[in-house]
């Protein structure tokens, strides 16, 4: 690529991070470090029942026996787990009962991020749970959802109001022994969302959670649990941002999805955590375990657009336990500057005639490193299982990297597994072609990148597809027309 296109592209890659501000709000924190007392303190602050404290402590004790995984294609300095603060919450006199009681500064923060929480200002079809550092500050449209029997609240509230459901399903998909970060999360998780959709109910609106990290030196340990009872349907979206800071911050989340017989869960993520600066200073370590469990005839679909974070380590997966169940994974992961991503999925076929689809689009720019890592496992019992995997990488410039690590384990002869992979570069010919039609260089790059991601974007709910396109444009420093 000649020097001028390279300059054009370099200019585009100098991204603006628009969510990088800090909210000046007094926060209540616990001292840095991790031990059983801290866990007891977190549990007490959340007024949790005994079973949950016990579960946290078991997870903590198990975590102590584990070692941090090093197999991912990412590099970072060792994390000092004793230097992290495990709880931070904006100070509030009492738990706010309505939006009127929520600190206006917090409402302002979400407004600045384009997420107004006042219901009349919201998109009519979307209910929001807003999580600020370790706590949920507001959940909208709760009453309207309650009319349909849908429970949508913060995880903490679910623990208080629906302890039976929490006890039944917490850890049922991702046990605390699962992996190092899941064990850590299970010990110290702070807040996240809880959704329960009763049998046969089609959730009348999109549900979404907006995660915001604000406090410095604090980890965010989100825990989300979604249960779709028999024959129900729910579509859920999460978004994430954080201020720009020079030090790295840890976000270690666990998301569990339970789709009972004939239920469908559509889970979409637009992840825009602070990615660090051009030299790789700062940024979020996004180490996340997401998994869903499908009963008979159930369907779970993960769609993710990952543009932020210094390091992304996440593999939203589906256990296809029930016969005829369906798992899908649609992913766009963009790494720019010094960002690193190791992301993909696991599709575990257990039931008969289970089907899974994996579409992964990795975009590497600057010095970004992007790895797809996926496992398709067909158990002996999975008669007639089918998987289709398509894994495409797009390189922008010549200092970045794309890597593909597909693992396929098939133990049933009737299974059909397909894997396709491509790697391409944005060519000078493509750029010139679009510029000859009047587009600026940055619009041209955006258009090519968005075209590359189209198969994934079309899986996102309408409003969010537009948001994702814009975000991708901004992440490449260029708006999409």
């Amino acid at each position: 690529m000649s020097s001028r296109s390279q300059q054009n592209i370099d200019a585009l890659l100098k991204r603006r991070y628009e969510a990088g501000f800090v909210t000046e709000v007094e926060e209540e924190t616990v001292p840095p470090g991790l031990n059983e007392d801290i866990i007891r303190l977190i549990s007490a602050k959340k007024e949790e029942p005994e079973f949950l404290l016990e579960w946290r402590l078991k997870a903590y004790r198990h975590w102590l026996t584990m070692r941090e995984p090093r197999w991912a294609h990412v590099r970072y300095e060792p994390i000092d787990y004793q230097a992290i603060r495990y709880y931070a919450a904006p100070k509030q006199k009492e738990r706010p009962k309505s939006l009127e009681e929520v600190d206006p500064k917090l409402l302002e923060t979400y407004e600045k991020l384009g997420i107004p929480l006042r219901e009349q200002e919201r998109l009519a079809g979307v209910a929001v749970d807003a999580v600020f550092d370790s706590v949920s500050v507001a959940t909208t449209f709760k009453e309207k959802l309650a009319e349909h029997g849908v429970i949508f609240c913060s995880f903490s509230e679910a623990v208080r109001e629906h302890p039976d459901l929490v006890e039944k399903y917490l850890g049922s998909v991702v046990p605390y022994t699962d992996n190092f970060f899941a064990a850590l999360n299970s010990a110290v998780f702070s807040d996240g969302s809880f959704v329960y959709v009763p049998p046969g109910v089609r959730c009348p609106m999109e549900l979404s959670t907006y995660f915001r990290i604000n406090a410095a030196n604090t980890g965010q340990f989100e825990r989300t649990l979604i249960v779709a009872d028999e024959g129900s349907y729910v579509s859920y979206l999460e978004g994430c941002t954080a201020p720009m800071r020079d030090e790295n911050q840890l976000h270690a989340a666990v998301v569990e999805l339970v789709a009972l017989k004939g239920a469908e869960i559509k889970y979409s993520t637009v992840q825009n955590w602070y990615p660090g600066d051009e030299e790789g200073r700062g940024g979020i370590y996004n180490f996340v375990t997401k998994r869903g469990l499908c009963a008979e005839d159930a369907k779970i679909s993960w769609t993710q657009v990952e543009t932020g974070s210094a390091i992304t380590w996440k593999y939203p997966s589906v256990i296809l336990e029930g016969d005829n169940s369906v798992g899908e994974f649609y992913s766009v992961a963009l790494t720019n500057n010094r960002q690193q991503a190791d992301t993909g999925t696991k599709m575990v076929h257990i039931g008969k005639n289970t089907r899974s689809t994996i579409i992964s689009k990795g975009i590497s720019a600057g010095r970004g490193q992007n790895a797809y890592r996926g496992l398709v496992r067909v158990a002996k019992s999975a008669e007639g299982a089918r998987n289709y995997t398509q894994c495409d990488s797009l390189l922008i410039g010549d200092r970045c990297g794309a890597h593909t690590f597909p693992y396929i384990e098939v133990r049933n002869r009737t299974a059909q597994v397909e894997h396709e992979a491509t790697t391409s570069k944005i060519s000078e010919d493509q750029l010139f072609y679009l510029m000859q039609r009047g587009l600026s260089a940055e619009d041209a790059v955006s258009m090519i990148v968005n075209g590359f991601c189209k198969e994934v974007f079309k899986e996102l709910p309408m409003e969010f597809a537009v948001e994702a396109q814009k975000l991708l444009g901004v992440s490449l420093e260029g708006a999409v027309g």
Binding site: S5, D429, Q436, G438, L439, G451, F452, E455
Partner: protein, 259 residues
């Protein structure tokens, strides 16, 4: 004068390709640039459109009285310079209609006009698509992806009719077309002919000029225009080949650097 090329010298990777081109094109005119392979025809088309990798070592190009060579490719496009590509590229996932709308609105914005909304734009495009006899479904396919050679060229002409350029450069648009496609492409071009608009038609064969009748024909060889004439020159070339022109220009058959 709409386009004035004066003593243009262009090198590619240090190797001279164009060695002193002089050409003046007035609004309303159609000029054909002919010549043997490697004579520099495509180089001329690409330099005018602003493709990188071409070094202008001497001379100048004025477009509407402005220094064209100083303008960025997208600015040239917005000022009405259109290149119908010899090899249009594929852009997966970007629909034709999406690209066309972005292009039209980039041009409109540049000219201080309000952007067209989706409805107005579709109306415009649906009128134009009939001219090149393409199905409307074509609009929703990814740009040039999986298109046949003929479809790609028709798509170039569709873009041209939608963008209504002031100076349209057709770089071997006829190559690889069967006779029906050639006729359709030519009709599209002819429908755009107007007193405000000029065409530079780069072609290897005179065949295209049966349909798009030029005002002037130039023979490019060895990086220079070695002969100019009216359309009868093209007919003569068809009959006698390029050899005699090259010999008269002292180049000898097949001489000249490869482009």
């Amino acid at each position: 004068m709409l386009l004035e090329i004066r003593n243009l010298h262009v090198s590619v990777e240090g190797k001279p390709i164009l060695r002193g081109i002089d050409l003046a094109v007035d609004a309303g005119e159609v000029h054909a640039i002919m010549g043997p392979n490697g004579s520099g025809k495509s180089t001329l088309a690409n330099v005018l459109a602003g493709r990188e990798g071409y070094e202008v070592t001497e001379g100048e190009v004025l477009y509407k009285g402005r220094n064209l060579l100083e303008m960025a490719p997208e600015e040239r496009a917005r000022e009405g310079v259109f290149l119908a590509f010899q090899y249009p590229v594929e852009i997966p996932g970007v629909s034709n209609v999406y690209l066309l709308k972005a292009a039209v609105n980039a041009v409109r914005k540049h000219r201080g006009l309000p952007e067209l909304d989706a409805m107005d734009f579709l109306k415009l495009v649906k009128e134009k698509i009939r001219l090149v006899r393409m199905d409307e479904q074509f609009l929703y396919r990814s740009v040039n992806e999986g298109f046949s050679g003929g479809e790609k060229k028709r798509n170039e002409v569709l873009q041209m009719t939608v963008l209504e350029p002031t100076l349209a450069i057709l770089d071997e648009t006829d190559s690889g077309l069967d006779i029906d496609a050639l006729r359709i492409v030519s009709e599209g071009v002819n429908s755009l002919r107007s007193p405000e608009r000029a065409f530079l038609v780069v072609t290897h064969y005179q065949r295209l000029l049966d349909y798009i009748v030029p005002d002037k024909v130039h023979v490019l060889a060895g990086g220079r225009i070695v002969r100019s004439g009216d359309r009868t020159l093209a007919l003569e070339l068809e009959k006698r080949g390029y050899g005699w022109v090259l010999e008269e220009a002292g180049l000898g058959a097949g001489a000249g650097p490869a482009a």
